[in-house]
Amino acid sequence: MTLPEYNFAYLDEQTKRMIRRSILKGIAIPGYQVPFASREMPMPYGWGTGGVQVTAAILGPDDVLKVIDQGADDTTNAVSIRAFFAKTANVATTTKTADATVIQTRHRIPEAPLSAGQVIVYQVPIPEPLRFLEPRETETRVIHGLEEYGLIHVKLYEDIAQHGHIATTYAYPVKVEDRYVMDPSPIPKFDNPKMNGSPALQLFGAGREKRIYALPPFTHVVSLDFEDHPFEVQKFKQPCALCNATGVYLDEVVTDDRGSRMYVCSDTDHCETRREEGHRGPGLPISGAQTVKEDAA
């Protein structure tokens, strides 16, 4: 019996070539969902198999990889994916946004602006922004092909009629270069503006749904809205309790059983960097901040 052996970054070279062709097509047609022959990956569908395949296809030995989930480098799935590439590709990994050449993410875009030469890879569960309005692939492809996007505004209209607001808070649809309506993956709409005109290359991988799409650097990305109900991002009333940052996305942490709460940066690297720079939030004790490593198991 032969025991299994695996290639650099797990995928065989033929598969990587196939994925790279799809990525290039996606870059050529920003926002268009390119079907690709998604492979079975050694982690479950839903855990980021699309992002992992895209990362595996673009990763070279000199790359420095950062993986985040919910903005944090130390969430279990981020740890697991980072370990996967450290093992199968032996690449350097980092938690520093600025040091990374490739950033794979689930549900967030880092707070620190990305720069030219960086690639951010999004994990996408449902790439079709119209899926919950029209379940049929045959129909949604025609809608994209003919730009019949009235339906998606019906959804926004209904939100306002019912709630007085557009009630979509994440996976908020965007229009790319005034052509394709695109699902930005389930990032909070807070992050949508960061996609517009970013100098970094943005790649999106949906493994189970077998789609790849892309935003080349400096692509025009607009969140859908109405003239009299313009797109707005979430605002937080208080700064981060640890690093005092404002204008960032905060996680609400319930700190006891009496309902006490504090708000801290969802982007852990951003928060740590600020604290290293000497920023101090109201939730930190006066003398000497420390990051305690706890064993969660």
Partner: protein
């Protein structure tokens, strides 16, 4: 003071260690051997090979052991390995007419050339838990018929085919589609649909097949034939100019003879539903053939109203590795998006409270 939860890495390592412990169980009990699993849990191994779409009993047995008997997990392990394998070429189509038959039954004829063979079936067992299963009682050797190489057992559908009573079996040299190498486009062709069904979840197909019998897309099926046995896998070697045998695989084939289609120049004919799976699994092969036939509704101008007739629905949801992944991913952290929803809900409720207040004041 609040400390962010750290140590994902250590947590994962510890969890894996605990998993290994639970998998092994009591160290005083001997570990399962692969021979035991392939030999005594053969149908579990067969299912893992069928839905993992890789014929390798030893690896499938390892996967069953590694997954602690969780079948979908084992199927997943095999799939994730299969996807890394290089393709050397395509085999010739297997010829089930030349199968070394272990079991063969037809419901459409009392007797057929080559005979009906019950084989190793649960069909007529009484489902009483056998006290002998608590121990290791001696088991009688099975009776064996003399091997009759010359004995022909033509497929029942071939008999109908020769009489012109069933839609013609069209031979094709076209390369079949491969949904593991090309993204599926809808509408899909029958070759791709059959491939999806062959590796589809047994339970899902069973329920869909059942639904067609209860009126959700009726196909009026008769089991033309089910046969289980070993078939040769051959591959053409261009340098040699002939095909060589790579070995044998055990398969289950079900040919369902279904609702006839009306007249025209060719006259009325029965239609076909086809099922083929690795290993021994009649349930899966039969369910597959029912669903295959139901999915051919357009070919026969039948109205597509039932779930089993809906190609996008069936193909998009029959894969249990995909299904389990997406269902189970809900347990991954979603707190960033949840935070956004919380925030919206609070805003909406604040607005409502303010409105109510103003209304009360006005009244």
């Amino acid at each position: 003071m609040y400390v962010a939860v750290k140590g994902g890495e250590a947590a994962i390592a510890n969890a894996h260690r605990l998993l290994a412990d639970r998998r092994r169980g009591d160290r005083d009990v001997p570990a399962l051997t692969l021979e035991q699993i392939t030999g005594q849990l053969a149908l579990a191994v067969d299912r893992v090979m069928a839905e993992g779409s890789l014929y390798d009993p030893d690896l499938a047995a390892m996967a069953v052991r590694q997954s602690r008997g969780d079948m979908i997990e084992a199927i997943f392990l095999l799939r994730a390995y299969r996807t890394t394998l290089a393709r050397f070429g395509n085999s010739r189509p297997i010829d089930t007419a030349k199968m070394r038959i272990e079991r063969r039954v037809s419901a459409t004829y009392k007797d057929i050339p080559g005979g009906q063979l019950l084989g190793p079936t649960f069909d007529y067992t009484h489902r009483l838990i056998d006290p002998a299963m608590a121990g290791d009682e001696p088991v009688d050797e099975p009776l064996r018929r003399a091997r009759e190489d010359e004995r022909r057992a033509p497929r029942v559908t071939d008999i109908l085919n020769d009489e012109g009573l069933i839609e013609r079996d069209v031979l094709s040299d076209e390369e079949p589609g491969d949904l593991t190498r090309d993204p599926t486009a809808f509408p899909a062709d029958r070759d791709v649909r059959l491939q999806a069904l062959a590796r589809g979840d047994e339970g899902f197909l069973l329920s869909l097949g059942y639904s067609t019998q209860r009126g959700y897309g009726r196909t009026h099926p008769f089991v033309g034939e089910i046969r289980i046995g070993l078939v040769d896998v051959e591959i053409d070697v261009p340098e040699l100019g002939f095909a060589v045998s790579l070995g044998q695989v055990r398969v289950t084939e079900c040919q369902m003879v279904s609702q006839f289609t009306g007249g025209g120049e060719e006259g009325a004919k029965f239609t076909r539903g086809y099922g083929l799976v690795f290993g021994q699994s009649e349930r899966k092969a039969m369910a597959m053939s029912l669903v295959d036939r139901a999915l051919r509704a357009d070919e026969f101008d039948e109205q597509r109203l039932a779930p089993a007739q809906d190609e996008e629905f069936v193909l998009a949801h029959c894969d249990n590795v995909q299904a389990t992944g997406f269902v189970e991913h809900l347990k991954l952290p979603h707190y960033v998006d949840f935070q956004a929803e919380l925030d919206l809900l609070r805003t909406l409720n604040t607005a409502k409270a303010k409105n109510d207040e103003m209304r009360e004041a006005a009244e």
